[in-house]
């Protein structure tokens, strides 16, 4: 345990920063691929928090949670990219704003 001197709080602070950056990017970027990357950033922020808290609480459960998050992230990327491909096939170079027919 070589993190004995390092408080969990620092990891959490990093996680918060990473999460906020990813969230802001998701809101600002229009390219769906980049938006997915921002989602990946947010997921990684959560992963950092999980692992750090797991280490702090002496629990392998944190790592197990990260394992499941990885799996879900993989599926999400697969489906998301499939959607991007399907949309781009009908309409080349579409951004997230172009897909806005479903409105009230």
């Amino acid at each position: 345990m070589d993190l004995a001197g390092l408080a969990v709080g620092w990891y959490l602070a990093l996680s918060v920063a990473l999460f906020a950056i990813g969230g802001a990017g998701l809101l600002v970027r229009r390219n769906p691929l980049v938006m997915f990357m921002c989602v990946e950033l947010m997921l990684n922020a959560v992963n950092v928090a999980f692992v750090a808290l797991g280490a702090g609480l002496n629990d392998v459960g944190g790592q197990v949670a990260v394992f499941f998050v990885l799996v879900v992230a993989a599926t999400e990327v697969v489906i998301g990219l499939a959607l991007v491909v399907a949309i781009n096939r009908r309409r080349s170079g579409a951004t997230a704003d172009d897909v806005s027919l479903l409105k009230g």
Partner: protein, 625 residues
Amino acid sequence: MIEAAWLICAFPLAGFAVLLALGRRLGEPRAGWLATAAMAGSFVTSVAVFFSLMGRDPAERRFVVTLFEWIPAGDFSVDAGLLVDPLSVTMALFVTGVGALIHLYAIGYMHGDGDFSKFFVYLNLFAFSMLVLVLGDSLALTFLGWEGVGVCSYLLISFWFTDEANATAGKKAFITNRVGDWGFMLAMFWAFGALGSVRYLDLFGQAGSLSSTTATAIVILLFVGAAGKSAQLPLHIWLPDAMAGPTPVSALIHAATMVTAGVYLMVRVNPLIAVADAWAPDVIAWVGVATALFAAGAAMAQNDIKKVLAYSTISQLGYMMLAVGTGAYVAAIFHMVTHAFFKALLFLGSGSVIHALDGDQDMRRYGALRAAMPVTAVTFIVGWLAIAGVPPFAGFWSKDEILAYAWDASPALWLVGIVTAVLTAFYMSRLVFMTFYGEARHSSDAHPHEPSRLMTAPLVMLAAAAVVAGGLNLPFTKDLHFMGAWLEPSLFGNEAHLGLGGGAQWLLALVSMAGAAIGIAGAAAVYLQHRLPASRVELPAAARAFYVDEAWTRFVGGPGRRAFEGVAAFDANVVDGAVDGVGRSVRAGGAVLRRVQSGFVRSYALLTAAGAVALLVWFLVRTSF
């Protein structure tokens, strides 16, 4: 055999179903015979149930035959069950018996009518509803029958609906009865609210735990219902108009059976009346006797033969209510039975006369029909003597018993009753004299004739019943008080005890015999010997039934109409406004909120993030402060 009591209802229902499906194909007269057979089957079953009930110990003469669970709703559940006890079986017996005879008569009377089979569809449906009414083991089931007979009454009054007046009469009967139904329903709700059940046996078993105020309210509300159905003041106005229906209908529904439903209901709930405040039965008695006097007065001056009989029916129903109010339940049922016989007889007889004179109902154009139609005349005269209270005919015994109890309760009630009896004898004699005696006043091209055997046979049977029915309940000794002993289990000891000695009873009977004699003699003086012009006794106010109808019209057309319009405006503006307002505000809100659905996925993400921030803030605030 008692378990087969459901057959009593099932026969007319089956008849109704078959006729509804195949009536037109069966045609005349087979449809009529089928309906009559259904009624006869029902009557035979009733007789069988009667005898098996007779075979039991008096204390055990009460059965509930549960058929199926009718309304299961949470704690509230109503089973469709039949309450077989002496009272309901008595009702079933005379409803099916008189009903079968009238069905038979109708085969002849409705001969040649285009809607012959439809008439019997309605008649059988009516019989079924009436039997559900009397045999139902709960207020709810009785109410089902109550509404059923109301519908059939409406359908049959306006049977010849192509005539505007008939359709209007049907509507009038229906709407007037709604007022009564309102009372019935409120009473039912109240009883359920107070005791948690609408089954008669539950109600009666727990009647003692009711506060007298609650019991009084329930009884009065039920009486409102009974007043509507049994044509008591001031809700009687529909019955004279109901004569627009075919005469067998008038005989069956508007004289013998349906209109007695109100009296039956009041007798049925006698344990509740026993718990109610003392003024409740007084109200019933006084409304009854006032109705009796009022209707007898109106009958004095009617020229339409059926109108005379209609007012006479109202008057006799008033007697029955008087009996209920004075606690003379046996006398009420006794009079109901005898009245069913002689009033059905009189109506059917009048039907024969109308039939013979090609539909003319005005007695001023009758006269001297005795020779042309002897059977009708003889049977009619039997009915006349019965209703006029001439011993030993049935009406004398039943009416006298009611009057004896009335004297016991209050001499004032008796006095009004005896005056009514005199008037009854007078107007019935007037009817008989104008129709069967005197000089013939009908037009020369009318050829009065005796109707077919099909129609005279019921007359003869009913006449026989009207002669001997008094034997059901003779006052001389306790052993001869058959009906009193028989109905005992249904009355739970609530029957009033007659405090009169034998001598006083004899005296009262003599007075009422004298009253009948005075009435008949008076009518003979006016209408046979013409010592007095008829216009002196036929008061215009009586001819217009003392302007009750006009008063209703003025009220409903004037302040009533304004009140109802106010209610309607309240409904349209406030109630509908609230409902519409909800819809409108939802639509307006939606029109605003739909802009949020921009279709831009990044806007949604923004809102989601904002929501997450808000949630986090909320959690922070909750944990920190």
